[in-house]
Symmetry: D2
Subunit: 149 residues, 4 copies
């Protein structure tokens, strides 16, 4: 990343993360906030499942989308908000694990449009496996009063 | 759809949906199961939110992915399982509503690979608005013992 | 489409299409320009092929991307330019045909971000088959001097 | 990549590439074939343009799709064919350059479904810039007589 992070980005991300009811609902935890990179952990619960007993792709997406969004947000100017325009998820293996590690990284930070890439890893009996990837496009909102975070 | 639905598809979808812990977690309800088309409703709750108080794109995706997957599954032969390979979501408006209506429709039913399209509508004060679209690619699994649904 | 087309949109699209060297290279023809919908035809040539002798997915994408982009551009205000942010293509059947018909339609016309959907049909011995779909996100450029079209 | 490449993969890729009429049409050259990674160069020509005089996103996609497909094909067993199911392209900067360098890399090589990632770089006056990324899902075809490559 050639782009500089905005001072105070760690606190801004923590504050915004705490407002996401969805993160509490699924039990996701914000574990690492760096300039252009954010990591979120999701301990597996039986309420997260799809029909085969694995992590539902949507629950995985919920945590991974937040990881990508906050990775991008660390580079946003003060007073701006972030809006996800679209994301795409490739599911590479069943979501079979005790803990899922979501890593979001900025690929390109633009004035208006940014691209982040996410990776979801399943941890099972001490082994880690890549189970999904994401690409997420976000927009910087500078002109909407009251929309910060 | 030129492809015929598999007899008993409605019960098979209901049974599989009931096994998805994620649907209970978010409070999603299966409201319509037709050949190649499924509708899921998601009443908005404060636990569903992103940082601006709207529906988190991941929670929306969770319900929409199930709608697309089950729409496709209605056309699958008996004894097969469904696996989502990838999906892409375009977010068109904030998830601002009292209820979200997710509609999944099969676009192409193939022997191995199928494509479904999903639409998410927000209902607010009697008005409905398209807030997101999905394209989802699934694979028919015929050779994995015990993987049905 | 609830959005109104910009007067003179047909001429603006024709003018811009004529500037695309890529359309001449592949032999694509602009056949229909309506408010929010554009159709492009691509007669099959042996120079279009992938290794199995069918239409290369990239050549298909070239014509389909222009169809989606111009469909969106019909709704853009005067003096603005169009920029494609991303697109996704699902390939549903081999590109086996004498002529390919590309149809781009606006799904959501926004102030800054718009979404179009495209369909590619193969015509062979009087029969038509859907061979690919596209979703394309574009941005309206209002502030770049000299970038119109 | 933990997966081993199939002996003779370099010749198989060269042979298949030579059959792609589309590669000749746009003037793309195969410059590097390694296990799980392929590089294609595209010298810019005026016939490649979109309306602003830059590389058309579809022409870029044509070369990038082949790079991703062949990267994956290096790992395919003998006697199999490759089919692209879908791809997504994020356009990060205008295609403004004298030469475009397309790099395709396998991310996950599966028995049936594989994922590759592609990057397109524009070279201009000695400087290189990332202008687009791709994710491409392919399927290994083992049961179609005569479909190899």
């Amino acid at each position: 990343m050639s782009t500089f992070a905005t001072p105070g980005f760690e606190d801004r991300v923590k504050e915004s993360f705490a407002k996401q009811g969805a993160m509490s609902l699924i039990g996701a935890r914000l574990v690492r906030v760096e300039a252009g990179e954010v990591e979120i952990h999701l301990p597996f619960k039986s309420e997260h499942t799809q029909q085969h007993g694995f992590l539902h792709a949507g629950i995985l997406t919920t945590a991974l989308d937040s990881a990508c969004g906050y990775a991008t947000y660390t580079l946003f100017p003060l007073g701006t908000g972030i809006l996800t325009i679209e994301f795409k998820v490739n599911l590479l293996a069943p979501g079979d694990g005790e803990l899922f590690r979501m890593v979001g990284k900025v690929r390109k930070a633009g004035r208006t449009i940014s691209l982040a890439e996410g990776e979801a890893y399943a941890l099972k009996r001490g082994k880690e496996k890549l189970v999904a990837t994401m690409t997420a496009t976000t927009m910087t909102m500078t002109d909407r009063i009251g929309v910060v975070g």
